[in-house]
Each structure stands twice: as structure tokens, then as C-alpha cells.
Amino acid sequence: MPILENRFEENVVFSTVDEMINWCRLSSIWPMTFGLACCAIEMMAVGAGQYDLDRFGAGAFRATPRQSDLMIVAGTVTYKMAIRIKRLYEQMPEPKFVMALGVCASAGGPYYEHGYHVLKGVDKIIPVDIYVPGCPPRPEALFDGLLKLQEKIRHQKVLRRLTPQEKSVIDETTRKYELETQKLAPLPKEYQA
């Protein structure tokens, strides 16, 4: 909704409409099938019967970024994969959310000190909404992260105008990720397959 987004005053009508939109969004967070390492096993456990992610409307794992709202980055992100993650994130339609599952995806984890090949947190390339530490986290910890993400979505402003403070935060985030990652250097020609 680029035309209508953040255009309206704060009043009872648009508050209600925003509430409605946010409720729709948070009740059907479709995650992307995206497991990178051992945390993906916990993500699978979350999808299975004992924990059942479908109770929160988030059980429809999509196999394509174009149909998904939430990217659960589950596992160690290497630099080689980081380029692909960036591309997948750009292919997701708005509104899109990112959950960094496990300490590797959150901040590099055990590879923080001595991993030459591991990205030190996926927030270096894409904005992360929720961090779930654990090595790997329990399925309940993922639920906890998901519930907190829903809480975050519940308080978003969709149609209502942002306060200058909120706007500056959003602008700063956008600028940061543009500066840091939009201009990923292309692969040199001799290496392109």
C-alpha cells in the first residue's frame, strides 16, 4: 500500500483499520522453508505435531520467498550463503520480517571469534526483527520469539502517520542497510558460471 501508507491522522477510524490490518498480518505469518544448519531441526520440530506452529497461523511453510512473510534464518550463515540470503530477502514481498534463530544467525555464535567464513550475525546484511538465542533454541524459544514478533506487528502503524521519532528510526535502518549491503560487489566475471 505505498499510496495509502502512513498518510492519515491518528484517529479512531484509522486506529481501528490499522488494528484490523495488523491482526490480519500477525495471524497469518507464513514462514519460508529455509534451514541452514542444526537450528533447522528445531524449526522442523516446531512445525510437527507436538508443538504445532499452525496454532499461531504460521504453519504454512512456503517454498518460495515470493509467498512468504517471515524468513526464519535457522543456522550458521556463511559469506557464500549471505549473498543468497540477501537476494532471497529482496524477493520477499512487503511486509516482511526476519527472525534470527540461534546464536549463529544472531551474532556469529561460537564462530564469532575464530570463524573466517561465518557472517557475524545476519543483521549485517538484512534488518532483523527478532533474535532468538540458543544453540540451538528450544522449540518453545522459537514460539516465544514468534509471539514477540506478533506483539511487534500488533503495534505497527500502517495507515497512520508516523511520529518524527519513529520515522527517523525507520529511515536510519533503511539507510544503514542501503549503505552496508545494497551495493554488494558483483562476482568477478571470470568466476561467473
Partner: protein
């Protein structure tokens, strides 16, 4: 066959190319051969009717600073039930030795990995590219003098 007999057999066939037999107090004994003869030795080990090393279990690279890199071949014979560890030292400046990927097919990816992480060049390899790291990666990470990168394609590597 015991390691001493294996060593004798190799010594008889290759003479000076087989350098030494190392039998450390802990760990398995190994035979060091000269790097140039690795392919011939490997082919002999596989084809000779008394050796029959039909399986290459592992191919590893080792870094011995400041002068040498080494390639270690763990071989196993599923018919004779004996095993042998071959070692070949190459100089750090020009780490080149012939490939064994034509002797054992499984050596293909192992050699690519050794090239990827140690920079050992296997001459005659059909497709010697990096296998784990990105193609444009700089340096060979498992060498002991490796310097961590500060940036990879615009991504900062450290906080």
C-alpha cells in the same frame, strides 16, 4: 601385510622415491614419498596384486610452517584388510604435486578441498576449483599464516 613389508615392497619398486618410514610411538606409522612420484606410487598401490589398496579413505592437507605443506593419503584394502598412510611433502612457495584423482575417483573432491583450504595445486586435476569457499575468496584459510579478511564483497567481517 605389516607396515614394514609394505614399506619394503614400495622401496623395492621405487627405490629413492620412497623416502622414509616413520613409526611414531603414538599414532599410526606412515611412509613418506617424494611429491613427484605420488601418482605412480598410488597407481602401484592400487594395481599390485599383493597390495590392492582399492580405497582411498581420506586425503588431507597439512601445514608445516615455515617450509612445507604436506598431503596425506589414507589408503585401505578391502580385500587384503591392511592399510597404509602415505605422506608427500611439498614446498610452501610452490606447492605442486600430481593428482591421484585418476587412480581413485574419490580423490577428485578431496583434492579440490585441499586446494581450497591449503592452496595445494594438483597438476593434472580435471576441475581444480574451490569447492567450499566462494570462487573469489582470497587466501587459503587453513594455512597457519592466514590473515582473516576484513571485508568480503562489501560485508564487514568484524564489528
Amino acid at each position: 601385510m605389516q607396515i614394514q613389508e609394505l614399506f619394503e615392497a614400495l622401496k623395492k619398486r621405487f627405490g629413492d622415491q620412497v623416502l622414509e618410514l616413520a613409526t611414531p610411538a603414538s599414532g599410526e606409522p606412515s611412509v613418506t614419498v617424494s611429491a613427484a612420484a605420488v601418482q605412480d606410487v598410488a597407481l602401484f598401490c592400487r594395481e599390485d596384486s599383493s597390495l590392492e589398496f582399492d580405497q582411498l579413505m581420506c586425503l588431507s592437507g597439512v601445514d608445516y610452517p615455515p617450509e612445507h605443506l604436506a598431503v596425506v593419503y589414507h589408503m585401505h584394502s578391502s580385500t587384503k584388510h591392511h592399510r597404509l598412510i602415505l605422506k608427500a611433502m611439498v614446498p610452501r612457495e610452490d606447492p605442486k604435486l600430481p593428482t591421484v584423482s585418476r587412480v581413485w575417483r574419490t580423490a577428485n573432491w578431496h583434492e579440490r578441498e585441499a586446494y581450497d583450504l591449503f592452496g595445494i595445486v594438483f597438476t593434472g586435476h580435471a576441475n581444480l576449483r574451490r569447492i567450499l569457499l566462494p570462487q573469489d575468496w582470497v587466501g587459503y584459510p587453513l594455512r597457519k599464516d592466514y590473515v582473516f579478511p576484513t571485508e568480503y564483497r562489501g560485508i564487514k567481517c568484524h564489528d
